[in-house]
């Protein structure tokens, strides 16, 4: 269809809108008033490049569009109402909402929202088919041999194009009923249907050793139903509320089965399994089987209350108790029929987690200028799932023999307690200071650190010299200890290994950053100043610095700082400018040791040490203007947004003989430009034309992704990769879009 015909159709439609019987501001029918509007138009465009990123979460078609529909019906007595809104009608990101109710009594809302998520279009390819749908992937053919060139030729010939994207459809119903100003009852039901495909890696064989990767398109078919019911009463100086939340997740495809492309004994049911993994095509597992996310459910009851106490004190408290349940039957250890299934002590996890939250807060304002707050919080992740024993170990990637005998799982649990105190004092009308203290105890049932404490202290100042100026400055210092850090303590119990064996295997000198002793400093500055009524300036500066003083190996430090400035300026009634600029930088440093043997440590083999440093820098800028060219008749909006991000990783060291040298990575870069200009012409008080231009340009360079294709044996020439196949979805292609924008808005 050419553009002349499209424009004619649009003009005809617009004419009918203009000639429609509705006139004036709103329509009165009996006891009802009706108003609303519609917008319809078109988006002619030229586009080059990768559409996936352009339409990552949106649908911008080159066709007639209906960006908005609205209908508002109200009782003339301003008692009842019905509001209907729709955006992006008929497109994959469409949204509909219908609200009905009576003011002050009841409000009900029905909504349907669609969120597309596009990963890649027209770049991924796979030789697998899914003949019955579901989670079974079959190969109608296989390579002639397992030599790299044969695998390459086979996959290039057999692979078909596949798009990787998800679709999220969310239906929701809310009701809020307030029979009296004190009582409120709420109910929500929402259903989330998530479907599509995304990339998913799978392996045959073992690493280190011999293996082949087969990257699949994971089928996603999730259904989640959520319900929330609550009731609350607000009395004079107190409130009490009870809420129940239920969430039911069901995975319609929870098992993935896929053919092994390098077992060349046959295709489909003709394939012959052998227990041991083979790289020469003569055997090994014919298939692999993966357990995708199991269905689960969660139930939570929460009780929240507040009370006004003597001496201008307020109590706020919450108790919440939940159940998280998961009881999917375990799959067998392996789909390989030639391997005897090892023993396991249970047929399912009988997963049962009971999260408990207790929060008590006191706020006091007895003295006019003194604000006090104290709180205690407990979060307890009580894991009552079964301990499962695997006396024979498990089967690694569907090949014999079983490994790691005498395993016992441990239902991992932890709790976190927080105590905090704030004291704020108004020194003068223009100056308020606050001092804060906080403590957090993290207790873990297993892992390297069982109990750690983190303290924080710091002041905050608010300086308000006039109603039009505000400056905020805060500083907080945190320090966390990690007593008795023991790399030999593990979550999964390998009973045939001693703690010393495990320390050695995992490297005793390593400190995991989320458990390690840490010093943190946070500084935050913020300023807002309305120079004149027409001009407002904002500025901010945030710094977070983390140091890990006891981590000989592991993350050493990370440092993040981010200055920002912004303004809003309206020099004239019809003219407005706005802009923002932000720069963010994130630096980190990691010490590591290259190890081929457990005896290699920083002390025994210092030449194996290597250091890695990362730096992310991002500039973000936006600028715009609203101009009323002719009052109430013609308006112009121009706005431009820009983001430039870079991620660098530099590495050095590991100079030992025969070792892989630590090298730098190519810089990851991404840039985003977006310009919108729009002219709105109010041709009639009910009708407006919008004409505009939208420019969007993005570039992304990520060496690790840009080079992808189904066979990567020429990039990594190792034997394992020669046998491997990937989807080759290059998810970061650049694009440039020039989009014309023409719509007619009709209001009544």
């Amino acid at each position: 269809m050419n553009w002349t015909r499209r424009l004619l159709r649009l003009a005809t439609f617009s004419f009918h809108l203009v000639a429609a019987p509705f006139v004036s501001a709103q329509v009165d029918i009996g006891d009802l008033t009706i108003s609303g509007g519609a917008e319809v138009g078109g988006l002619p465009r030229t586009f080059t490049g990768d559409k996936a990123k352009f339409e990552e979460y949106r649908d911008i078609p080159e066709s007639v569009i209906v960006p908005q529909l609205q209908l508002l019906i109200g009782g003339k007595k301003e008692d009842y109402y019905l509001n209907f809104n729709a955006t992006e009608v008929g497109r994959s990101d469409q949204m509909y909402s219908l609200r009905v109710g009576k003011y002050g009594l009841v409000d009900m809302e029905f909504s349907w929202d669609q969120i597309p998520h596009v990963f890649s279009l027209d770049t991924a390819r796979t030789p697998y088919g899914r003949p019955g749908g579901g989670g079974t992937f079959t190969l109608p053919s296989k390579p002639t041999t397992t030599a790299g060139t044969d695998v390459r030729d086979w996959v290039n010939g057999a692979a078909n194009s596949v798009d990787l994207k998800l679709f999220n459809g969310i239906g929701r119903f809310n009701v809020r009923y307030t029979p009296t100003p004190g009582w409120t009852f709420t109910g929500t039901y929402w259903s989330n249907n998530n479907s599509g495909k995304r990339a998913f890696g799978a392996l045959f064989g073992t690493s280190p050793g011999s293996y082949n990767i087969t990257e699949l398109t994971e089928p996603i078919s999730y259904q989640t139903n959520n319900i929330e019911l609550g009731g609350e009463y607000a009395g004079n100086g107190w409130t009490l509320g009870l809420k129940y939340t239920g969430s039911f997740f069901h995975n319609n495809i929870s098992t993935l089965v896929w053919d092994n492309p390098i077992n060349l004994t046959g295709v489909g049911s003709a394939c012959v399994d052998t227990p041991t993994y083979q790289t020469n095509g003569t055997g090994g597992p014919c298939r692999g089987r993966m357990d995708l996310y199991p269905s689960n459910q969660a139930h939570t009851f929460g009780l929240t209350g507040t009370a006004a106490l003597p001496m201008k004190t307020q109590f706020l408290g919450t108790v919440s108790y939940g159940w998280r349940l998961q009881d999917d039957h375990f799959l067998p250890f392996t789909i390989n029929p030639t391997i005897a299934q090892p023993r396991i002590s249970a047929t399912s996890l009988d997963g049962d987690v009971r999260p408990l939250v207790v929060n008590t807060t006191f706020v006091n304002r007895y003295f006019d200028k003194l604000d006090l707050k104290a709180y205690y919080r407990l979060y307890d992740y009580d894991n009552r799932s079964k301990r499962v024993s695997l006396p024979d170990g498990y089967i690694k990637n569907d090949s014999n023999p079983p490994v790691v005998p005498d395993l016992v799982t441990f239902p991992y649990a932890y709790s976190r307690q927080n105590i905090g105190m704030d004291a704020g004092y108004t020194f003068a009308k223009w100056l308020t200071g606050k001092f804060s203290y906080g403590w957090e105890r993290m207790h873990r049932e297993q892992r390297e650190v069982l109990s750690s404490d983190e303290f924080n202290v710091g002041p905050t100042f608010d300086i308000k010299p006039s109603p039009w100026a505000l400056f905020r400055a805060s500083y907080r210092h945190y320090w966390r200890n990690a007593p008795d850090y023991d790399a030999g303590r593990q979550v999964v119990i390998e009973t045939d290994e001693t703690r010393e064996d495990i320390r050695e295997a995992r490297l005793e000198a390593l400190r995991k950053f989320d458990e390690a002793a840490r010093h943190r400093d946070k500084v935050s500055l913020y300023g807002q100043y309305s120079v004149w009524e027409q001009l407002t300036l904002n500025s901010g500066f945030d710094v977070t610095s983390d140091r890990y003083p006891n981590s000989e190996i592991g993350v050493q430090n990370d440092f993040n700082y981010s200055p920002s400035v912004g303004f809003n300026y309206s020099p004239l009634e019809w003219l407005k400018f706005f802009g923002n600029y932000n720069w963010e930088r994130f630096d980190w440093k990691l010490n590591a040791v290259q190890r081929s043997d457990a005896t290699q440590t920083p002390q025994t083999d210092p030449s194996r040490l290597w250091v890695s440093r990362g730096r992310d820098q991002i500039h973000t800028f936006s600028l715009g203007s609203d101009i009323e060219l002719i009052k109430n008749l013609l308006g112009l909006r121009i706005q431009y947004g820009f983001s430039d991000g870079r991620s660098d990783v530099r590495a050095s060291g590991s100079t030992c003989s025969g070792c892989t040298q630590a090298t730098n990575y190519p810089t990851i870069k991404n840039q985003w430009h977006e310009l919108l200009t729009r002219l709105e012409y109010q041709v009639h008080k009910n009708i407006a034309f919008n004409v505009g231009y939208y420019f969007n340009h993005a570039t992304e360079n990520d060496f690790g992704v840009d080079i992808m294709k189904p066979w990567m044996g020429d990039v990594d020439t190792g034997a394992n990769v020669q046998r491997s196949i990937f989807l080759g979805d290059q998810i970061k292609g650049p694009f440039t879009a020039h989009v014309g924008y023409f719509t007619v808005k009709f209001r009544f």
């Binding site: 949106r58 007595k77 301003e78 955006t87 990101d93 003011y103 002050g104 100003p181 409120t184 989330n192 890696g201 690493s207 607000a234 969430s247 997740f249 357990d291 929240t304 307020q314 998961q326 375990f330 799959l331 250890f333 996890l349 049962d352 569907d398 010299p465 100026a469 400056f471 979550v491 295997a505 995991k512 913020y526 120079v531 500025s539 945030d542 923002n580 932000n582 720069w583 994130f586 990691l590 590591a592 040791v593 190890r595 043997d597 992310d616 991000g645 991620s647 590495a651 892989t660 630590a662 990575y665 977006e674 939208y694 990520d702 690790g704 990567m712 990039v715 190792g718 394992n720 989009v739």
Partner: protein, 323 residues
């Protein structure tokens, strides 16, 4: 660039200080409560009296949700007071002939001299419940923010929640009013929404208030749910588990690996793979070995080329998250 930014920031501070010095003694601040106490105790005059002088404001207010309840659907005597329910009894204001700052009313203006606590208390009389239950203990209240910093009461600006900013919808992006309001102060987070790897906030499918309760909550960072993870599980329910084989740092805190506001790295990761994993895993062989960019341990999805079940596995053979 650093020097430019420092100079700009310093300039703003210095300009502010100069302006403060210039204005410091020029505007004696009225204490409306004290002023009112000197006069006759005020009484309620009724909305018709307010409307007589403040007709345009009245007309705009009547279109708001609060206006429709107070003016047309009042449920008790307090709500029937309408204007005076919030601004206070108006008899002294009327008797004095009206005017800005006259009669001891609570005006909610920036230059009124009223304390933020006084203004907020007016709103909290009705609104300290539901999502506003924890307001007095919230970070925003602690920083002296007023309800009227984010909300406009007297006219309908945003589609919902009476927010001070108007959202904007185009076929290309949608700026929700909530995101615009939060972005006024949270400049870094506002900028992060434009990162390459992001959640659909700038497309209008999510807002800040989908995860955070700006009115306060008993949870860290004013999250709506009890923990960071429970917040994420609201949408990503498949990762809730529990699993036979857990990955403990994942179970404790999703933000150990992810930055939910936006990053330049894929999948909202804070640090590029494989470095993210190497930070905790230094076992022999491949976790501890530095990898070239041409290595399968780096390209594509790096460690998750094989360890795809990194959030947890329920397969008996899934100890290393490969099944």
């Amino acid at each position: 660039m650093k020097r430019f930014l420092f100079v700009t920031f310093a300039g703003v501070v210095l300009f502010g200080a100069a302006h403060w010095t210039w204005t410091a003694e020029k505007e004696p601040v009225k204490e409306p409560a004290k002023e009112a106490a000197k006069e006759t105790p005020p009484t309620y005059v009724g909305t018709e009296v307010c409307q007589a002088c403040h007709a345009p404001q009245f007309e705009k207010f009547s279109k708001t949700l609060m206006g429709k309840i107070f003016l047309f659907n009042a449920r008790n005597e307090t709500e029937k007071q309408a204007c005076e329910n919030c601004h206070g009894p108006g008899s002294n204001h009327v008797a004095a002939g009206g005017g800005k700052g006259v009669g001891g009313l609570i005006t909610f203006r920036k230059d009124s001299g009223e304390s933020v606590a006084l203004q907020n208390q007016t709103c909290l009389t009705c609104h300290q419940r539901g999502v506003q239950t924890y307001w007095n203990a919230s970070a925003h209240a602690n920083r002296g923010m007023g309800c009227v910093t984010c909300h406009t009461i007297m006219e309908k600006t945003s589609d919902r929640y009476q927010l001070a900013k108007v959202g904007e919808h185009t076929p290309f992006f949608t700026k929700r009013a909530e995101t615009e309001v939060c972005g006024q102060c949270h400049l870094q987070r506002n900028a992060q929404l434009l990162r390459s790897s992001h959640m659909p906030v700038r497309e209008g499918k999510m807002t800040c208030s989908d995860c955070h309760n700006p009115h306060g909550s008993p949870s860290p960072a004013q999250l709506r749910q009890n923990t960071i993870n429970e917040n994420c599980y609201t949408c990503h329910t498949e990762r809730r588990g529990p699993f036979l084989w857990e990955h403990p740092p994942v179970l404790e805190n999703c933000t150990n690996c992810h930055e939910p506001h936006g990053t330049v790295n894929d999948r909202l990761l804070k640090v590029t793979d494989p470095r993210l994993c190497t930070g905790c895993h230094m076992a022999t062989q491949h976790p501890s070995t530095p990898r070239a960019p041409t290595s399968v341990f780096f390209f594509n999805r790096s460690c998750t080329n094989c360890h795809s079940q990194v959030h947890g596995s329920n397969h008996p053979s899934g100890k290393f998250f490969m099944r």
